[in-house]
Amino acid sequence: MLHRAMALVRGQKLITPTHLRDIYGYRDLILRLAWSDFKLRYKNSILGFFWSLLEPLLMLLVLYVVFSHLMKIQVEHYQLFLLLGIILWNFLDRGTSMGIFGIVGKPALVQKVYFPRDVLIISACTTALMMTALEFIVFVAFMAVFGVAPTAAVLYFPLIFALLFVLVYGLSLALSALNVYFRDVQFIWRVILQAGFFATPILYPITIFPADLQRVVMANPMARIITTSRDSVLYGAAPAAGDLAYVALAAVVILLAGYLIFDHFEPGFAEEI
C-alpha cells in the first residue's frame, strides 16, 4: 500500500527514519514517475533512444580527436578514459538539471495532491539514472571492442556510483527548492556546471597538474569520483580508502545540506510555484 494508515501530525521534519520509511512506501510512485519521464524524453520511440546515445558519442568523438591527436594527451585507453568521465559527468549534469525542475516543472503534482515532495526529486534523479544506464551499455560494448577486461577492482565501482547518486540527489534537493524561490538558480547552476566540466579531470588526467595544484583539484568530489572510477573499471586498481572516505563524507554532507534546505523551503512550495 502506498499510503499507510497512520497518524499524521503536520510539521514533521523530513530527515527522520520515519520519513525514510515513508519514502520507501512511495517506491511505486517514484518508479512510475521516473519511468514516464524517461519515456517522454524519448517520445516513446526507439529512434529517440538512439538519438540520445548519439549525443554523448559524437561529443566523445570530437573530444577524442581534439585531445588525443591535436593535444597529444598520452593516456592508456584514452577513448574509454574519456567516455567513462563523460558518462559520469553527464549523470551529474542530467540528474541536477532534471532535479532542479523537479518541483517547478510539476505544478499540478505539487498543488493538487500531496505526497512527500522529495519523491519528485528522487524520481527525477532516477530518470537520469535510467538514461545513464543506457550509456553504460554502450560503454561496456566499447570495453569489449577495445579488449579491456575488468579486474576484481571493478567491484568498487557500484559503491562509487552509489555515492555519486547520493551526491547528485543532495544537490538536486537543494537546487530544486531554491529554484522555486529564485528562478535564476537554474541559469546560475548551468554556468557552474560548464565551469565544472573543465575544472574536473574529465578530458585530461589529474597528473597534468603539479602536485600542490592536484590537491586543490581533488577537493572537488567529482574529481575523486571520476579518477577512482577509472582506476577501478579501466586500470584494475582498488581506490584509495582515503579517496572513498572523502567522497562518502562529501556525499553525506551534501545530502544533509540538501535536506536542510529542502526542508526549510518545502512548506511554501504550493504557494510559491
Binding site: 500500500m1 502506498l2 499510503h3 499507510r4 494508515a5 497512520m6 497518524a7 499524521l8 501530525v9 503536520r10 510539521g11 511505486d28 510512485l29 512510475r32 514517475l33 514516464s36 519515456k39 517522454l40 517520445k43 516513446n44 510539476k106 499540478a108 503534482l109 505539487v110 498543488q111 493538487k112 495532491v113 500531496y114 505526497f115 524561490y181 529564485f182 528562478r183 535564476d184 538558480v185 546560475i188 512548506p267 511554501g268 504550493a270 504557494e271
Partner: protein, 424 residues
Amino acid sequence: MASDRGVEVEGLSKTFRIPHEKRATVFETLAGALRKNEYEVFNVLEDVTFSVTEGECVGIIGDNGSGKSTLLKVIANILRPTKGRVAVRGRMTPFLELGVGFQPDLTVRENVGMYATIMGLSNGMIRDRIEDVIEFAGLGRFEDAKLKNLSSGMQVRLAFSTAIQTDPDILLIDEVLAVGDMEFQQKCFEVFKRYRREGVTILFVSHDLGAVRRFCDKALLLSHGRQVAFGETGDIIDRYVYGGEGRDRPEGARTEGGGSGATGEEVVAAQPEAPPIEEAAAKPRRWGDGRVVIAEVELLDKFGARGERFSSFDPMTVRIRYYAKERVADPIFGIALYDDMGRHLYGTNTELKDHPIESVQGEGKVDLQVARIPMLAGKFFLTVAAHTRDGKPYDWLDKQYSFEVVPAGRDAGIIEVPCRWARE
C-alpha cells in the same frame, strides 16, 4: 494507531503574504536586500475549528473567496497552516482536480497507471483493475491511444473512473461535480453515495447547496475566511441562505426603511431601486394615480425575516405595505412573477384568489403567503400593484422587486411539478 479516523482542525489560520515587490531571482533579492520589502497580508483563513468523525460527511459552503478551497488544501497538507493545527487520522485522498499528472503524450493505459499510483493504489491493485477502469470509462478501444488524442470529455471520464478506484478513509472533494454533463454528475453522485455507505469520511466543498443538503450530515459555513457556523446541514444552509451570514451583500441591497411611519408623499418620493432589467430603464417603472400607494414590499422567509434568497420548496411571504390618504373602496392588490429573461411566469391578485378587500384607509398591509416556492433555481422579479376592479392602477411597481432561489433538490428545469413515481 488511533482507533477512530477523522479530521480535526484546531484554531487554523492561513495567511498569504503578498510582497509589494516580487523578488523571484537571486539577482533581485541581492539588488533589493538593502530596501525593505513590504508585504500585504491577506488572511485567507482565520481561526477555523471543527472536527469530523469517522463516517461523517461535512459540506463546506460559502461565497467565492471565503477560503473553502484553501481549507481543503491545508487539510490535504498541500498548504501549511500559518497558525493552528490539522490532524488527519486515516488514509486521505484529495479529489481537488481530476486527472492530476495526466501526460498527454502517454497512452491511456499508461496514464491510468500513473494517475492510479498518484491516487495511492499499489501496482498489484492497478494490474487487477486497469481493464475495469478503461472499460468503465468506455475507452476499451482506445487503451493504446495517446491521451492527447482523446476528447476532453473522455479524459475526464478516464480520470474519474481511475480516481474512484481508491479506497480512502477520508475523501476531500472540491467542486469535482461542477465539471461534466448531467450524466457524468449522476455517476459522480452514485459513487459518492457508495463511499458514504462504506463509511468513508467525506469533506465536500460545493456551491451546489442541494447536493450539500442531500449528502452532508454537517456543514461548515465560511465567510471571508472566518468560520461563521458549523453544525447540522439544514440549519447551516438556512443561515447561509436566509441569515445573510457568510454572504456579501449585493450592491444596493434593501435595508430596513422607515417603513410604516412614512407618509404618502414621502413614499412616492423615495423611489424603489434601480431597474432590475436593462431595458426597463426606457419604460416607466412605476405608474398610477397614487390614491393607494404601495409603501413597501417585504419578502419574508420561513423565519419571518426579510431576505432576497430563498431555498426552493420553502415557504415565503410577500408582504405589501400600503398607504391610502383617503378611503378607497374595493381595491385589488396583485403580483406578477417574472424570470430573469423577463418572461411572465405567474400572476395573481386578491380578486382572483377571492379575497375581497372592502376598503382601505391609512396604513395597512396585505400578505401573499406562498406555501412552497415551486421554482427550482434562479433570479426572479416581482411586480406589485394596487388597482381598481376594472384595472385602473393606483400604484403599479413594475418588476421592482427581485429575489433569488437556490436549489434544494436535484430536479432539473425551472419549476417543480408536484409528482411522484409509482410502479405496479
